[in-house]
Amino acid sequence: MTSLNLKAAFVSLLLLALFLGIWYAATLPATGSATTSAVAAEQAEYNKMMGKEAGSGKTTGFPTLGQMGATVLQQLSDPFYDNGPNDKGIAIQLGHSLMRVGMGFLLACAVAIPLGFVIGMSPLLQKAFDPFIQVLKPISPLAWMPLALYTIKDSSVSGVFVIFICSVWPMLLNTAFGVASVKREWLNVASTLQVKPLRRALRVILPAAAPTILTGMRISMGIAWLVIVAAEMLVGGTGIGYFVWNEWNNLSLTNVIFAILVIGIVGMLLDLAFARAQKWVTYVE
């Protein structure tokens, strides 16, 4: 097993090196000296006026590995700086995004888990709620944005609302499914022991359905993290999504790439946290 892990790590490193190698090769300055000698004097003059001086080391295309590395170092060396609304450190932007995701997600938990419990326990409500859930579930959360902005009138809260609306469905459906498929025999044990409804919900149904509920929460968190970037691009102001959009307007591709990397890593960490929680509540039958 460990030897397999070692081999896998080695192959991963190889892939990374290959990727970086391709990046490096693709962004090499395009045979500069050969072309500059060939251009006419007037052309060189024109280039100089346009800031495209020969031999200045600037490339017009994709950032090189060196530029990328410099940006990463610079961003990580001072992640908390705040130079006004359009220039904040990456940690501050991330904090804003995580705050919105956290609030929207918790709100969704508070609604979806109790409601899912009720729906899961009552076949009547299950049928009654089903058409609404089926219609509302496939709606892109961003489609709610204009409505949210109009009614809430606060862009930051609208962002939270969008996270709420996209997190609520997987959790609701999974909770209802988990609760509805609790084994009959455990409920029978509870009834022969005359367990009161609240105690039955907390001591029998909740632990029995916990793995399914956690799966729903994990899916919700994944979606919420996808959606927050888009939502913040639309809403603006703060957050990692706004940072990406702002750096695109600055034409700072290195910062955009850096932000993409950060989004990926934070998303992975969030998912790992839920995987850990899932492991904790899973039981072997």
Partner: protein, 297 residues
Amino acid sequence: MLNDGGGTVIVDSTRNPSQPWIPDPVRDDSKRGFLKVEGLSKSFVPAKPVFADVSFTLDKGEFVCIIGHSGCGKTTILNVLAGLDTATSGHVFMDGRELAGPSLERGVVFQSHALMPWLTVRKNIAFAVESRWPEWSRAEVDVHVEKFVAMVGLVAAIDKKPSQLSGGMKQRVGIARAFAILPKMLLLDEPFGALDALTRGTIQDELMAIVRQTQQTVFMITHDVDEAILLSDRILLMSNGREAPGGYLPGGIAEVVTNTLPRARTRAGLHHLPGYYELRNHIVDFLVTRAHAGDAH
């Protein structure tokens, strides 16, 4: 009435209530009729009850088994007694009061052991004990739990999860959980059906020892004729309902066999007891040739 050479087997039919009840000399009259089932029937399809007119009584401290083919409604009867299911008609009385819903006075051992897989053995039994005596302190609950875990010989496994236990051990926990709430009566739904023969034998002996010691009243479903003969004082033989030329005949209790083998019997010595084979043959014959409603007696 079946009367074999040894005169050890007494059979009476509930279909013929005029037949005199032959009292067991060990039982005294105050314990009579602890559980009374009167005219029970259950139909899933209207006018075609699975069983109808099922009446029997259990005395206090009596061990009664019910045998019948699949689909005859044994489990339904047990579920009605447990309060988990309702009969289409008929009544059940325990201690003179009519049953309404499940109760802590009746402990149930389920065929599939029904332990909560996320709880350890200790916590599974504690869950039942806390349900019975919510006012008890943790220490009191713990002492009680440990006593019943010791009773089924699982002290070493008390802090293990059910998934770490063998099938036999799980069923022992199920039995301990049912006994731990000190019910007035135990209902066992084919508790050893999923166990291998060796384990089954051991647990049967254990169960019998515990029942004898606690004077527990037990109603048990089984498919195993030897198990019924070993454990029970009386055996109810159930017939399946069927379509007869003259119309549908519901199933029901076709016969009640009283087990007159000495109460102090063991799995190992059972087949040496006089009268054992007559009793066994009688039940097997019933299951093979007469287990359908309307079959000639």
